[in-house]
């Protein structure tokens, strides 16, 4: 460096001119750097907060999706709220579901319009660490006890009923597993309910020997609330031994083996476990409904459970006969089974020979053992109903027995395979057995542990769905409002569905509406349905089960 240059440098350094500007300029560089850096950091923290809000909202929303749709829904929901996060764009979402948790992880990329800024500070415009946001939520359950009372009247078709139940269960479960948190109970009701072999002990062996018709010539007149005698000279009224003797006598005339098979303890007729349960004659509504509060405690109670009003004992044409129709039903079941195929119906039918030849030969023109009125079910009742009142299974019960507290939807569908229909309906049976299946006092009867049915007003949602059918005979309609009152008081939700407008009388509809009104606080409804509304009801029931909350780490 020359001397002149050194002198110039010394002069510049020693000069006071521009001192403030230089100092201020030097000071501004770090100040601006800090300010810009602060904004950048503040902005990114803000973005991450927003991204977290977005992912939290998405997780809570997705928890309400049916499981198969969640994967698709995750992108939709992240996208819906990512708009405000200016510098970020959705890059990838990962949804993990490990019962009872749902975890959504979202990887963000940097929006294209912001890349130019990043290029100033990085080589390729990408951030070294991309924002990665996760949110986890936990499902917790409000257990559901759902009872479905299915109409088994003639207007119902097995395949349609199966389809409806299958679709409904699909809606409820939607590929989710609830474990023991959802318990399905199911039964088909006509004028009687088939308890099935598992619950046949609920009624007494002695009462199973009764003809459901009670005795010849006697019918219970609900209007007069008394038994009336339709055939002069018959003194019989509920004397078990006498009815038994009559049955024995009748069966002996047909085939001596039938006595052994059907009336002996442990015989095929009893082994099949078919236990039709009919209603008690209605004299006092409250005491009738009181019977539902406890399972039968003794033989007398068990006997009470099955006595019916014998309304089918009088048939058109003036013929009044009493037959061992409970066993006749059992015979139907046996014949429907593979083992009994090939049995000549005439060996079972209690049909006088001359009537057989007059009226029924045509029906069995091909082969007596091939008669099938309802597809896979041997239908015998038309003999009595439409002809001379000779033989009728008194209130044919569906072959499907009661299913209580099932947790496996596949098992429910398996059970539905036994569903059969084909007689009249008494809707009070649906209310009564529905109530029993939700009643904690019946816990010992249903044999599903002490926690089923759960106590009233616990955290468990109790829901009775009744698919009402066309009433086939006099029903105990008077008891329904009282049952509905108890359902409402006990916090049970009631949904009544009528398949078509003509499936109930005006009086029945009014009762159903009153029931829905009575249980309004529990969400009870009555609908003359469209199918969609059924599925919605199931979806609502399921919607009550799984709840979700975010987990804070």
């Amino acid at each position: 460096m020359t001397k002149q240059k050194r002198t110039t440098l010394k002069t510049f350094l020693a000069s006071e001119k521009g001192f403030v500007g230089v100092v201020a300029g030097l000071f501004l560089i770090p100040t601006m750097t800090i300010a810009v850096g602060s904004f950048a950091i503040y902005g990114e923290v803000t973005n991450l907060t927003r991204a977290q809000q977005t992912v939290d909202a998405a997780t809570l929303a997705l928890a309400n999706y049916p499981e198969p749709a969640r994967e698709v829904g995750s992108s939709t929901w992240i996208d819906a709220n990512t708009e405000p996060v200016h510098s970020l764009r959705l890059s990838e979402t990962t949804l993990e579901m490990v019962d009872p948790f749902i975890k959504l992880s979202v990887e963000y990329g940097v929006a294209e319009s912001y890349r130019w800024g990043l290029k100033l500070i990085s080589r390729n415009g990408d951030m070294a660490v991309l924002p990665f946001v996760t949110s986890s939520a936990e499902f917790f359950y409000r257990p559901l006890e759902l009872v479905m009372a299915l109409d088994a009247s003639a207007s119902q078709k097995k395949n349609k009923m199966e389809e409806m139940i299958r679709n409904s269960l699909d809606v409820v479960y939607a590929n989710q597993s609830y474990g023991d948190n959802v318990r399905i109970s199911l039964f088909a009701y006509s004028e009687i309910v088939n308890l099935g072999s598992e619950y046949k002990d609920l009624i007494s062996r002695q009462s199973r020997r009764l003809s459901p018709a009670g005795a010849r010539g006697w019918v219970y007149d609900e209007r007069r609330e008394e038994w009336i005698h339709k055939k002069k000279g018959s003194p019989v009224l509920y004397k078990t031994q006498r009815v038994y003797d009559e049955q024995k006598k009748t069966l002996s005339k047909i085939n001596a083996a039938l006595v052994e098979d059907l009336l002996s303890e442990g015989g095929p007729g009893q082994k099949i476990g078919y236990a039709p349960v009919n209603r008690k004659p209605l004299k006092d509504v409250v005491s009738y409904v009181d019977l539902m509060e406890q399972p039968p405690m003794n033989e007398e109670d068990k006997f009470e459970l099955v006595i019916n009003d014998g309304r089918w004992s009088e048939k058109p044409g003036g013929y009044i006969y009493t037959y061992p129709t409970a066993y006749w039903d059992a015979a139907q079941l046996m014949m429907a089974s593979e083992y009994w195929q090939g049995v000549d119906i005439r060996e079972w039918a209690v049909i006088p020979k001359e009537w057989w030849e007059e009226s029924y030969t045509e029906m069995f023109a091909t082969s007596p053992d091939m008669y099938s009125m309802f597809g896979d079910m041997w239908g015998i009742w038309p003999f009595g109903k439409h002809r001379y009142g000779i033989v009728t299974a008194n209130g044919d019960a569906s072959r499907m027995s009661v299913l209580a507290g099932e947790t496996n939807p596949d098992a429910v569908m398996k059970h539905m395979e036994n569903y059969s229909s084909g007689t009249g309906t008494s809707p009070d049976e649906a209310f009564a057995w529905g109530y029993r299946l939700l009643n904690p006092n019946w816990s010992s009867a249903w044999k599903r542990g002490a926690n089923f049915p759960t106590q009233y007003h616990s955290d468990t949602e109790k829901h009775l769905m009744i698919f009402a059918g066309r009433t086939g005979a006099e029903s105990h309609l008077k008891v329904i409002p009282e049952i509905c009152r108890r359902l409402a008081d006990n916090g049970i939700r009631l949904s009544i569905f009528l398949p078509t407008d003509d499936h109930a009388t005006k009086q029945e509809k009014e009762i159903y509406q009153e029931c829905a009104l009575c249980g309004e606080k529990n969400g009870s409804i009555y609908r003359e349905i469209k199918r969609r509304e059924i599925y919605q009801a199931f979806a609502e029931a399921a919607g009550q089960v799984a709840r979700v909350r975010l987990i804070s780490y």
Partner: protein
């Protein structure tokens, strides 16, 4: 000579070192003021934007969980039809948003709120949930590529879940979906008249809940 005297004086002034610091400071002050005000404005803008988003998200969360009614003066819960309730909610949201920006003088801030509410159980004859709308305050210039009504229809863009039953698609019922769109004209206290920016800050948030979330 008068002129030569003036020129000499000017020459001395320009060559003089006295007052250089003051002069440099005077020249730098406007620049510093612009920088400081710029930083302040940017900070306020960012804070306003952040507050808007935060309030919008939390209001969406609150409103989607709100019951369909109000508590009256007697302390009783009264159910109100959504047609009447939604405009009330929008107005309440507007007031809350305004307060969030200025607790001392809420009227100094202009805000707008628009609500979209869907209950998936309320559907039209094609099984598509009906979208209800209500707004309060300024009109927010938010334009979405798809309207809420379009996002209700089944398909890839649907923002609500559909399930299949009996060959039909129907929305999972009893889900409540609420979308809130908000906007604010950024103003900075008393300087509103001078520093009012000619743009809206906008935000939106969508939340959905089931029966018991």
């Amino acid at each position: 000579m008068k002129n030569s005297g003036f020129v000499l004086a000017l020459s001395r002034f320009l060559k003089g070192k006295e007052g250089a610091v003051g002069l440099e400071f005077a020249l730098l002050v406007p620049i510093l003021i612009v920088i400081v005000l710029g930083l302040y404005s940017a900070n306020m803008y960012q804070r306003t934007d952040n507050t808007l988003h935060r309030e919008t998200a939390s209001m969406a969360d609150i409103l989607v969980n709100a019951p369909d009614g109000i508590v009256n003066e007697e302390g009783e819960f009264v159910e109100i039809p959504l047609e009447e309730l939604l405009p009330m909610r929008a107005e309440s949201a507007r007031v809350l948003l305004q307060r969030a920006f200025s607790s001392t003088d809420p009227h100094s801030v202009e805000v707008g709120v628009k609500l979209f509410y869907v209950n998936t159980s309320v559907q039209d004859d094609k099984n598509v949930p009906i979208v209800m709308e209500a707004s309060a305050g300024s009109t927010c210039p938010i334009s979405k590529s798809l309207s809420m009504a379009e996002r209700m229809r089944p398909g890839e863009t649907a923002i609500i879940p559909y399930t299949e039953g009996d060959g039909m698609l129907f929305p999972v019922p009893k889900l409540r979906l609420l979308r809130i769109e908000t906007c604010v004209i950024p103003t900075f206290g008393d300087l509103k008249s001078t520093l009012k920016l000619p743009v809206f800050l906008t935000s939106e948030f969508t939340a959905m809940r089931g029966n018991n979330d």
